[in-house]
Each structure stands twice: as C-alpha cells, then as structure tokens.
C-alpha cells in the first residue's frame, strides 16, 4: 500500500532488515576540506561506498552540486567569537 520510494531488502514476511552494521564501526571523521567541494563530496561518497551503499560518479556529481550551495553558509561559531571580541572592546 505504501509508496515504493526506498530501496529495501526485507526479510521474508517481515519488514525487519538485517542490520548493515551488526557491530558498531567506530571510525575517524574525515577532515573535510570545506573549501574544496569536489574533494568533500568524494570523501562522503567513499564512506557511503564503504558502508555498502550505492556510490557511483553520478552520486558524487549530485553531491558536488548540492554542497556548492550548502557549504557557503557562514560559520556561526566564528561569527560569535568575533562578536564577543568586538563587544569586549567597546
């Protein structure tokens, strides 16, 4: 009855899925270079691939396109720090 929007690998007679990560995978968070969108997208795609998901070039291009816009936001922490600094001086 539901819209079939999402990829599934269901068990028989159940909507439970086998966990992709039976054991927790504690791993390093990459040092994303937020000035290099192409590299950032590639890093994310690599991780997705490592976890067994789809990971083609199309996905990477898609990510690049989206991240170009997304990552242009101002870093709130930097703004806050600067604001505090200025405030103290005046």
């Amino acid at each position: 009855m539901a819209s079939e929007l999402f990829h599934r690998n269901q068990l028989k007679n159940s909507f439970w899925l086998k966990s992709r990560h039976a054991h927790s995978l504690v791993e390093e968070i990459p040092n994303y270079d937020l000035t290099d969108i192409d590299k950032t997208a590639a890093m994310i795609v690599d991780q997705i691939r490592d976890h067994g998901f789809g990971s083609d070039e199309e996905l990477k291009q898609f990510l690049v396109e989206k991240l170009q816009k997304t990552l242009s936001s101002t870093d709130a922490a930097e703004v806050e720090e600067l604001r505090d600094f200025i405030y103290e001086m005046f």
């Binding site: 819209s3 966990s19 927790s24 997705i48």
Partner: protein, 942 residues
C-alpha cells in the same frame, strides 16, 4: 572574553567583591580555557599546596591574581615550586590599592606570614580615585561595580563607601552627559563593525595604552598623593613584617621601551624594612625574546611565559630573606593515566555532551540548559565546557571525541530521499535538508575553532549510540536491546543484543517506516510541536477513546506480527520536506489539524488515545520478536519512543522479559553517552566483561556550592534565610498548600527533573494540580503531574513492586486509595471538568485513568537522600510519603541550570518558596519583579 556559566566573583560588603569561595571552575577564554580554584576566604589559592616555614602574602589585582591562566601557571604558584616558601595570593581581579590594603587588613592576623609582597599595577593610580569600576554583569551589560575607596581629608586617609553599596547601576543609565562625549560614544557604537579591523594589539597599544597617564610623572598629582598615602598605610599595617613592592608597568611601557616615570616615587618608600623591585628590565627582556607570547591577546594579562619570568625574578629576590631555592622544580603536572572519552550529540535536536572514564559516566548535560533554548540542536560548546570542568581536564587530554551519528550515511539517506520524490517537491525538500548537511560537515571545524581541539574525532552509528547508552550502564551482563525513535541515519527501530563488552545490532527497520515519526505526525496533527510535544499527546491519551485505532491501522500503518511496520506515505509530508501530515491525512481524519493553542477537543483526545494504543501494540510485538530473536531474559531500551512511560509500564508488566532497564536520557541527548561508551568499549576497555558500573541516577550535570549560592544572593542583595531543619520546614510549607521551587545538587541529565531541579507540592491537596499548571508552569491544565514516592511505600499506593528511579514507568494507583469521580467517561469536549475531579487520596498525581508516572526514591547516597528525608517528613505530616514533582521551568523554557535561572523562574511564577541548597527565599520578601518585555515571549511554546 572570559566566559563561564558560573558566578566567579561575588559581592563583599567590606572589599566590594571577592572570588566565590571554594570554587573549581573552568573559564573559557578565546578558543581556550583555564581552571581556577579558590580557597575558603574567596581568593585564588589551590587546596593542594606545598607547605614551608616561610610565607609570603601577595597583594595585587588581576595581573597578580593571574587572569587568563590556571592557578598552577601563575608566578605566585611557580615561586612555591622553585623556592622553599608558601605564597598566599590575596590578589583579586579589578582591585585598586585601596581594596588590596583592606584585604590585607582583614586577613593579616588570620594568616601567619613573613613578608608582604605588594604588586600594584600602574592603572591602580586611577582605580584608587574611583568609587566604582566598570564591569559586566552576566548578561554582558556594562555596569558600575561599587568599591570601597579612600579620600584624603587634611592629611588623613578617610575610608568611604563601606559597607559597599549593593546596587550596580547600568552604564546605560549613566550614559555620558556632555554633548561631545555622547556624540563620540554614539559614533563608536554605530561604527563598531567598521572599526573591528582596528581591534588588535596595535590598536590597543597605540590608542588605549597612550590616551592618558600624563599624571605618572608628577608626585604632586592627586593620584600619586593618594597612592603614597595608601602605601604609608600599608607600611603601618604590616608593621613588623618586611614589605616588598614590585610595581607592574603598563604593557606599552614594556613593549615600546617607554620611559618609566613611576619608579622613583616607589623608591622613595624604601627603608630598612621596605624593598622596591623594578620588574621592567626583566619584562622588557622577556618581551624581546617572546614578543606576542608575552601578553594574552584578548585581555593583555600575562601569559604563562611571563608568569614564569616574574616568578623567577621574585623568587631570586626572596633568597635575600633566607628562602632557599629548591634543588629541582616540583611539578604539579598530572601523572594520571586515566583515559577520558567525550561523546557529542548535536545538529538534530537536544544536543548534548557526556564524558566517561573507565566506562563510568562522569558528567553529561544538554546544551539547552546553558543557552536557555529548549531542545537546542546547536554545537554543544557549553555542555562540552561543563564536561571538561567536571573531569578537570583540558580538551586535548581526551583520548577521543566520538560523535553519535554517521554523517555520510545520514547524507546518503537524505539524498536517496531527495532522488525519490517528485520533481515539484525537490526544491522545498532541499531547502529543509541543506542546513543540516552543512552543519554535519563542520563538526571538526567547530571543535577546532571553538576549543582549539587537535585530537582524534571519531563517530559511531546513531542506533549503536542509543543501544550502547542503554546496555552498558544497565544492571544486566547480557540483554536484548530495543531502540525505537524517529530516524537516525537510516534506522528507525533496531533490535540488538548486548553481551559482556559488546553490543551488536541484529535487525533494523529503515526510514521512512518509523513508529516515532508516526507518533510525531499525530502530535503535529493535534497541534503540538514535533520533537517536543509527544509527551503531551501521551498525557492527553487517557481523556480519549481509541476510536481511530482501526483507521490508523487500516490506512496509515501496516503492522506485521513481528512488530515490523510499513507507513503509507500517501498520508504524510515529512519525506517531502513538508508538514508532517498532508491534506489526505486531513480527509482521513475528517478535518484539518488543530491549530496550536486552540481548544483541545474530543477529536484530539481520541486521536491521542488511538495512537497510544497502536504504539503499545507495535512495541509489544517488537518486544516479543526481540525476545524470540535473542533468547534473553532481560531487555534494555533507548530512543525517543522509550520515553513513552505509559507503554513502558505495560511492556514491563505484560511483556515477555523478566526485567527491563531504560536509559533515562533515551532521546538524542543520551546519544552522547552512548557514543562515548561505544568508543570506550571498542578502543579502550580491556577484558570480555562490562565495567563494574551501573547508572544509579541521572544527576550528572553541574552543581553549585552553598558558597556559590550565597555569593549569588549577596551580589543581588536578595533577602534569604538559612535552614535549621530543612526537611521539616519544607514539609510544613507543603502541607499548607505552598509550592516550592527546589534547587539542590547536580542537575539532571535527560528530559525529566528528578528532584534536584523541581517544583514540589503536596499531592493530597486537590487544588495543587491546577495551581501548578496554571500559575507555576503556565501550561495546559490537562497535563498530569508525577509523584515522587519513597521506595519502601511505593507498593502500598501503586500497583507495582518494580522501582522506577527515572520516572519512566506508569502504574495504576491501588484501588484502596481510589475515589469514584463524578463522571468517569469523558464524552464531550469539556476536558477541564474531568481534570479537576478528585480520583484518589493523592488527587494531584492521579491521572483521569487512575494512573501515575512514578519516580521511586530510596535512601542511598547514589540517589537523593535530601528528597528521601523530605518524603519521610511528608509521611509524618500527611500520612503519605509522596510529593508532587514537576520540572523547575515554565512552559517552553529549559529546566533551570543555575541559581540565577532558578531565581528568575521562581519570580516569574506564583511559587511561594525558593530553596537553593541550604538557603531559602520567601516570595513575599522579594523585591518587585518587573521585566521590560512580556517574558513569556522569550520561550517558544512547545
């Protein structure tokens, strides 16, 4: 510049101000931080000291007190480790020489000493002339802080302004009066941003440093006449002691090699028991070598390097008095090999930080408590700062920081979602998603920029974090694990197994088939806020009939016998980046959603009852499936749905497991605990068994000492009293129908106030529920209140023998204590008439279905002995060892964290008493409370 959620400096009637006594605080400074410790007298002296037979009493201001560096890194402490002497530091931030002398006068006979080391800063020439100094209050507003001062009357010093006035007028109220000054101030204010590039060392040195001080070269100036008199007084007070004067020059004099006019005036005081030391040559050499590392960049105080240099110079001069140089420097550096792990959850909702050591949760707190924004999802800078303070470590001492979620998989799910929806919906979907994605990728950058963190940053998986938070702190060595929430990465519900040192997930259900999102969708439809109002829906359920449950199961959710589900997305909008429910959902229910704050009608009550029934059915099936899958006798639970305490009570009494333990911080905040534990057990823990630790309580947040509370009360000049017999007095007030705002010990971690940040009332009083709802919490009157009950009386009043220390289980009131309400069936929209009926001997905590959300309390130190003592007094006074407990906040406000938050909340409500540790305040004695804007607008309604 210096930031702490704690009060560091407090009012003192004789000295103007001092540090809060017995303080251990971490002060944020720029991107770094430093620890300060104070002694019982309110000065910066650490409790762990080297002892010697030679004691120096140090007088000074912030330079000698060591603003910007830790106690151990100041010259006063460094001298002790290189020379065989003790240095008692009586210097305080902002002191003039007048205050320094008064401090000496106050303590000279109490602290045996051999030498007085007096270190005036040149700025003190001007401070001495003033009756106040400019400072900031905790809101960051500039204020005048009164101080004692001396005038010269004839040839005599006359002390003024003592006792020091408490009032601290705002600078706004004392704005410049001359037209020219006001014009300059206005121009500066308007051009703050344009001028920001000038705010650097050069600006400070050339503009601030040289504007004044022409008086320095004239001994006849008013400033020097007063300084000389004050030094004469100090010499007189120190009488038989030797006095060493070591003036501290302005920074620009050091950096620019400016002529120092001032030393001759100090040398004029030299005599057989007064020595003057010129620090300038050593400071200038130090600057030559270290340049920008000489002074702290934001405030201009000494860096650790400069403290070392001054310590060396002064220590060598002390040898002239028989003080021996130690054969080697004695280091205070920690030799501890303990490994600490910090867990972080953020960027969704309820961001938090937690720190663990050896598998034990040392501290945990939600960011909302510090920022005062409920469910704050932002980077938890304040919570991290607190965790480090509690552990007494620097951030770069951590073994690792572990994030509770895998950002790549979350992004993958979002992109998968994006690619699956109709083209017309994509733009709105992405506008919702993009901010979340940007934030997730900036965690490392934020840790570096805010904390200068250079260490390891790891991540785990969302449901593994929840699972770890439930299993490792539980009392079980092995257990099934059930995690149910909205969504994390892909997972919406998971079944796993915990055994010894290992947690593994066996099965999961993926987005969008989420029981949590279904519950949130109906929360939204009923006019409550998603990720916040779900517990209101649970509280509303007993008023309704589950007439929609079949409709829900027929159209919205397909439930398999193993508890797995599938949502029919045709009725929802969350997967499209739109509202939780859509028009088709409206048609199904027979009308549009209820608008927030409009009257709750029969439909919402019935919907609440229906989704509660469906939720319980699904959870029970999941639990049976988990039992069959794992073969375990016990189960642990986490995830936001595990906060549904109505369902939990039924799962415990009717479910397949012998015992259940639920992580009290089951929502995303608890993910911080799980992430840290997951890292610990993967990378640090040795052996196959769990650490010998069980989470007995949730008191994992900041505490505030009685001295700190007194400092707060004194600084505000509030009228307060100290308890003689706390439990007896409180029970007396409660039985008079009074409401108490109760603030004690460490703040709770998780969504529930469990007796340390609570409003308390007498449950035998029928009017208490409506009073608490309408006059204390300013919230919907249908919402029930929870009881705290003495563990040894719990089974007497309630149908359970299972303790509930975390208020996570709902159980019925025993029949023997029930009373027949006038009307039990609610078949109209008039909910209020049903709310106010007496249903038991404990009416204020008995819900319309005769249930109660229990918190049991025992008498062991690991729980809450103070509340237990109060329960016993309530037993004597009322016959019932029971209290009404609700969180210490008003609607939309996070639970109070500090004494300041508590006082503000208390004054905004009609609560009668405020208990702050060993002190209490009576509402009638407090000054009028007025706020410029209607304060309730401050908090977004939940």
């Amino acid at each position: 510049m210096f930031r702490s959620y704690r009060q560091i400096i407090a009012y003192d009637p004789l000295l103007g101000h001092k540090y809060v006594p017995n303080l251990h605080a971490r002060i944020r400074y720029g991107r770094g931080a430093y620890f300060i410790e104070t002694d019982k007298n309110g000065f910066r002296n650490s409790p762990e000291r080297l002892t010697s037979n030679f004691t120096v009493l140090l007088l000074g201001d912030s330079y000698a007190a060591g603003d910007g560096v830790a106690n151990a890194d100041r010259f006063s402490d460094l001298i002790e480790r290189d020379f065989d002497c003790t240095v008692i530091n009586l210097a305080v931030n902002g002191y003039g020489v007048d205050q320094q002398i008064l401090a000496y006068e106050m303590y000279k006979d109490r602290i045996p000493h051999d030498i007085v080391l007096f270190m005036p800063h040149m700025d003190d020439l001007y401070r001495n002339m003033r009756e106040n100094r400019v400072g900031k209050n905790r809101l960051g507003e500039n204020i005048f802080i009164p101080k004692p001062y001396y005038n010269i009357d004839g040839n005599q010093l006359v002390l003024k302004n003592q006792p020091v006035p408490i009032e601290r007028p705002s600078l706004k109220e004392s704005a410049p009066t001359s037209k020219e000054t006001r014009a300059v101030a206005d121009a500066l204010n308007k051009n703050k941003n344009a001028l920001k590039h000038l705010v650097n060392r050069s600006f400070k040195k050339h503009v601030v440093g040289k504007l004044s001080y022409q008086e320095l070269n004239s001994s006849e100036s008013r400033e020097w006449r007063l300084m000389n008199k004050l030094i004469d007084r100090l010499k007189s007070l120190s009488a038989s002691k030797h006095l060493v004067i070591a003036p501290i020059p302005y920074n620009y004099v050091v950096m620019e090699k400016e002529p120092q006019y001032y030393m001759p005036f100090f040398y004029a005081h030299e005599d057989k028991r007064t020595t003057v030391i010129d620090l300038l040559p050593a400071l200038q050499d130090n600057y030559e070598q270290n340049q920008d590392r000489t002074y702290l960049p934001l405030c201009g105080h000494f860096t650790g390097i400069t403290h070392r240099e001054i310590g060396h110079v002064l220590g060598m001069r002390l040898t002239e008095y028989g003080v021996k140089k130690r054969s080697k420097h004695i280091s205070y550096a920690s030799t501890s090999t303990e490994k600490y792990v910090l867990g972080i959850s953020c960027y969704y909702h309820d961001s938090a930080a937690a720190i663990i050591k050896g598998g034990e949760i040392i501290a945990a707190a939600q960011e909302e408590r510090f920022t005062r924004k409920k469910h704050d999802p932002s980077f938890p800078a304040n919570a991290i700062h607190y965790c480090l303070e509690e552990a007494k470590i620097d951030i770069n001492d951590l073994s690792s920081i572990c994030y509770y979620d895998n950002e790549a998989l979350s992004i993958e799910r979002i992109l998968n979602n994006y690619s699956s929806i109709p083209h017309s919906k994509k733009e709105s979907f992405w506008s919702q998603a993009e901010k979340g994605i940007a934030r997730k990728l900036k965690l490392r950058t934020q840790l570096r920029d805010v904390f200068d963190y250079q260490g390891q940053l790891t991540k785990t998986h969302h449901h593994h974090s929840h699972a770890a938070s439930a299993f490792y702190p539980s009392p079980f060595d092995k257990a099934a694990i059930l995690v149910v929430d909205g969504v994390g990465e892909w997972a919406c519900s998971s079944i796993g197994i915990g055994r010894g040192n290992e947690v593994s997930i066996l099965q999961q259900q993926d987005y969008p088939d989420s029981l949590g999102l279904l519950y949130s969708a109906i929360t939204y439809f009923c006019g409550f806020k998603v990720n916040s109002g779900e517990y209101k829906l649970m509280g509303l359920a007993p008023y309704g009939q589950p007439i929609y449950s079949d409709l829900i199961k027929k159209h919205l959710i397909e439930i398999h016998k193993d508890g797995s589900i599938k949502l029919n997305l045709d009725y929802f909008g969350f997967h499209l980046g739109e509202a939780m429910t859509n028009e088709k959902f409206d048609e199904l229910i027979g009308g549009p959603r209820r608008h927030a704050e409009s009257r709750i009608k029969r439909r919402e009550m019935d919907l609440a009852a229906s989704i509660q029934l469906v939720t319980e059915e699904v959870l029970m099936k999941m639990m049976v499936h988990a039992h069959e899958l794992t073969g375990m006798e016990c189960c642990v639970m986490a995830g936001g749905v595990a906060l549904n305490c109505v369902a939990n009570g039924k799962l415990l009494t009717r479910g397949p497991f012998k015992d259940i333990w639920i992580q009290p911080a089951s929502g995303d905040a608890g993910g911080a605990v799980g992430a840290a534990l997951d890292y610990y057990y993967q990378r640090i823990h040795q052996g196959d068994r769990k650490a010998d630790y069980v989470q007995q309580h949730s008191y994992l947040g900041p505490s505030f000492s009685d001295q700190s509370i007194k400092g707060f009360l004194d600084t505000l000049g509030l009228q307060y009293h100290r308890f003689n017999n706390k439990a007896v007095d409180m029970a007396d007030w409660l039985t008079q129908g009074k409401i108490i705002g109760y603030f004690e010990g460490r703040m709770e971690f998780g969504p529930r106030a469990l007796g340390n940040r609570s409003f308390l009332g007498d449950p035998t009083k029928p009017q208490i529920q409506s009073k608490m709802n309408l006059k204390i919490k300013f919230r919907e009157s249908f919402r029930p209140f929870a009881p705290i009950v003495a563990e040894d009386e719990m089974s007497e009043y309630f149908e359970t023998d299972k303790t509930s220390p975390f208020m996570l289980l709902v159980h019925p009131v025993r029949a023997a204590y029930r009373k027949q309400a006038r009307e039990n069936k609610i078949d109209n929209d008039d909910m209020i008439s049903h709310v106010n009926q007496v249903r038991s001997e404990l009416p204020a905590i008995t819900h319309v279905d005769y249930s109660a959300r229990l918190q049991s309390m025992n008498n062991v130190d690991s729980q809450n002995p103070a509340i237990y003592a109060l329960l016993k007094e309530m037993k004597k006074a009322t016959g019932y060892g029971v209290l009404v407990n609700t969180s210490f906040n008003v609607r939309g406000e996070p639970i109070v964290c500090s004494p300041e938050d508590a006082y503000q909340c208390f004054m905004r409500t009609e609560a009668d008493f405020l208990v702050l540790g060993d002190y209490y305040l009576i509402k009638e004695e407090q000054p009028d409370w007025s706020e410029s804007e209607y304060w309730q607008k401050e908090f977004e309604l939940d």
